[in-house]
């Protein structure tokens, strides 16, 4: 029997495979294609203090081996989540983690405080790739001070496991990782989407309604892998790796680079049962290489 369990703060995962926020809805949408009891966790759609309508259509563009999106955090707000969605999903046989977004430290903290009261939500993932309304719309996660102040506020409001999701759109991601670690993050997950853009040359128009958008999918994997490698060397807390993971080999690569767990995002759109295949494939890899526990491969990259 292979031991596939990993721990992220106080959060225990039966295996390292989770779904990335915004790509798996609330799990319900995929219930015909997956067996929740074979997943480490589901990270649900970005949730904000108040309802958001999101950005106008068109919100998607297809690019080489990936997509661009500008969803704009459409969600019905944390109170709606607690009242209507949580009761539907709380008994799924896996960890349900809520991704929290906001525009200022107070909103993040209030949202986290409400989620802390839910028994069946063992952790939150704080998405700091959001514009800070108080500081002219600059993305919170690109600045150590802004990221630090959000994480400090959430830490006070939220006693359970707090994962902080980092944006890759920075000069040095290790600085931000260290800043949120210093404010009490239990783990960091990376990467969120890269900034990108797509143009329709025939019409001389941008494809996305907001002109630019978040780039995800297999195309971003090398960037994500490099950042996971750098961050796992820079912090002591566990790192969760994501960005373009589409199969078990990709997942193993992230773990070798230092990730304790992984998330799968865009790949769910093409292969709705990809999480099942990745979980099984990781085990197969461990057997093939004679490992007894998945934890043995975390950071096991041999760099000469």
């Amino acid at each position: 029997m292979i031991d596939t369990r990993v721990k992220i703060g106080d959060l225990e995962l039966r295996n390292p495979v989770m779904t990335a926020s915004g790509t798996f809805g609330y799990g319900t949408e995929y219930k015909d294609f997956v067996d929740f009891s074979r997943m480490g966790g589901i990270i649900v759609k970005g949730t904000t203090l108040r309802k958001r309508e999101g950005n106008p259509y068109p919100r998607l563009a297809e690019v080489s081996s990936g997509i661009l999106n500008t969803i704009g955090l459409q969600n019905k707000g944390v109170d709606y989540f607690i009242e209507h969605i949580y009761p539907e999903i709380k008994d799924y046989d896996t960890n349900i983690i809520v991704n929290v977004s906001g525009t200022c430290p107070e909103d993040y903290a209030e949202c986290a405080e409400k989620l802390a009261l839910l028994d069946k939500i063992p952790a939150i993932e704080v998405n700091i790739s959001c514009p800070n309304v108080k500081q002219g719309g600059m993305t919170i996660g690109v600045n150590c001070a802004a990221a630090g102040s959000v994480i400090k506020a959430v830490r006070k409001a939220y006693p359970k496991t707090m994962i902080v999701k980092l944006t890759p759109n920075v000069t040095d991601i290790t600085e931000i990782a260290r800043a949120v670690e210093a404010e009490g993050a239990d783990s960091v997950s990376l990467i969120n989407c890269l900034n990108g853009m797509a143009i329709d040359a025939e019409r001389r128009k941008p494809i996305l309604s907001m002109v630019t958008g978040g780039f995800s999918g297999p195309a971003i994997k090398p960037v994500a892998l490099r950042m996971v490698y750098q961050v796992s060397k820079a912090v002591k807390i566990p790192v969760i790796g994501l960005g373009g993971i589409s199969n078990a080999t990709d997942a193993v690569e992230f773990m070798l680079a230092g990730a304790s767990a992984i998330e799968i995002g865009t790949a769910n759109f093409v292969d709705p049962s990809v999480t099942m295949k990745v979980a099984a494939g990781i085990e197969e890899y461990l057997v093939r290489h004679g490992y007894k526990s998945v934890r043995e491969i975390i950071g096991a990259l041999e760099v000469s």
Partner: protein, 254 residues
């Protein structure tokens, strides 16, 4: 909601219908699951380096006895072009059935208005309506004579009226130029390019006819998870893939 499946189907036949349209007839070793008219499938396109996402395609017809699913596809880009090259015996990975589907009238009369490849879902719809005792009238609009396909399957279900923009066959102009659209029907069902659906919706509002349209927004997951495919409705953004693709025009902000 009907259970969704990921199935690997086998191509029985790839029929060229005209210069750009083709029909894929697919089968599976096990009985096909129940599908509703207006629902769609998401097709995984293999053997290309440029296509990443699945492609949404309407269910054209299902023959449960022969265990066959038919799709009518227009070759418009790399994904549909790759599908046009499939041969008998090839396999195709599909998610199905997706979306809500049309609501079915019982008895009465309906006009099914299609534009271009938007005629595809109207065959299965017409068949199901006929089973419910509805008198089916088709109004199918094409750009040119060369876009028209063999419509005998449609003729077997209801009266077929045609318009072409160049006037080469049927009434010259758009579907809204055809006099049949002014007859009295209990419901209109519309699928085609957005400008065409909007002008038919206008006719429906003017004549006070109930009207359902099938939208074709850009999609990623097809399951209501990514929120990429939304359309603006009176109740805010709704997903075309899971709340639609069929909407009553009363719901939409057009």
């Amino acid at each position: 909601m009907l259970k969704k499946f990921e199935l690997i189907l086998t191509v029985v036949e790839n029929k060229k219908l005209n210069n750009s349209y083709f029909q894929l007839i697919l089968t599976h070793p096990n009985p096909l699951p129940e599908m509703l008219p207006g629902q769609f499938v998401e097709v995984k396109v293999e053997n290309t380096t440029t296509v990443y996402l699945r492609r949404p395609i309407s269910i054209n017809d299902v023959d449960y006895k022969a265990n066959r699913l038919s799709l009518i596809i227009k070759n418009v880009g790399d994904g549909t072009n790759a599908l046009s090259k499939l041969c008998a015996g090839d396999s195709l990975n599909l998610l199905l059935p997706l979306g809500n589907g049309f609501t079915l009238l019982e008895n009465g009369s309906a006009i099914l208005v299609g534009g271009g490849v938007g005629i595809a879902p109207l065959l299965y719809l017409g068949g199901k309506l006929r089973e419910k005792g509805v008198k089916v009238t088709y109004l199918l609009g094409f750009k040119y004579n060369s876009d028209i396909i063999d419509l005998s399957a449609f003729e077997a279900v209801g009266d077929v009226n045609i318009t072409t923009e160049d006037g080469s066959i049927g009434v010259k102009g758009f579907v809204t130029n055809h006099p049949v659209i002014n007859s009295k029907f209990d419901r209109m069902y519309v699928c085609g390019p957005t400008p065409m659906m909007k002008s038919v919706a206008k006719c429906a509002i003017e004549s006070g006819t109930d009207c359902e349209v099938s939208l074709e927004n850009m999609m990623a997951c097809g399951l209501g998870a990514c929120l990429g495919c939304v359309t603006q409705t009176k109740e805010g953004h709704k997903c075309v893939c899971s709340d639609g693709p069929v909407f009553n025009i009363n719901e939409l902000i057009w």
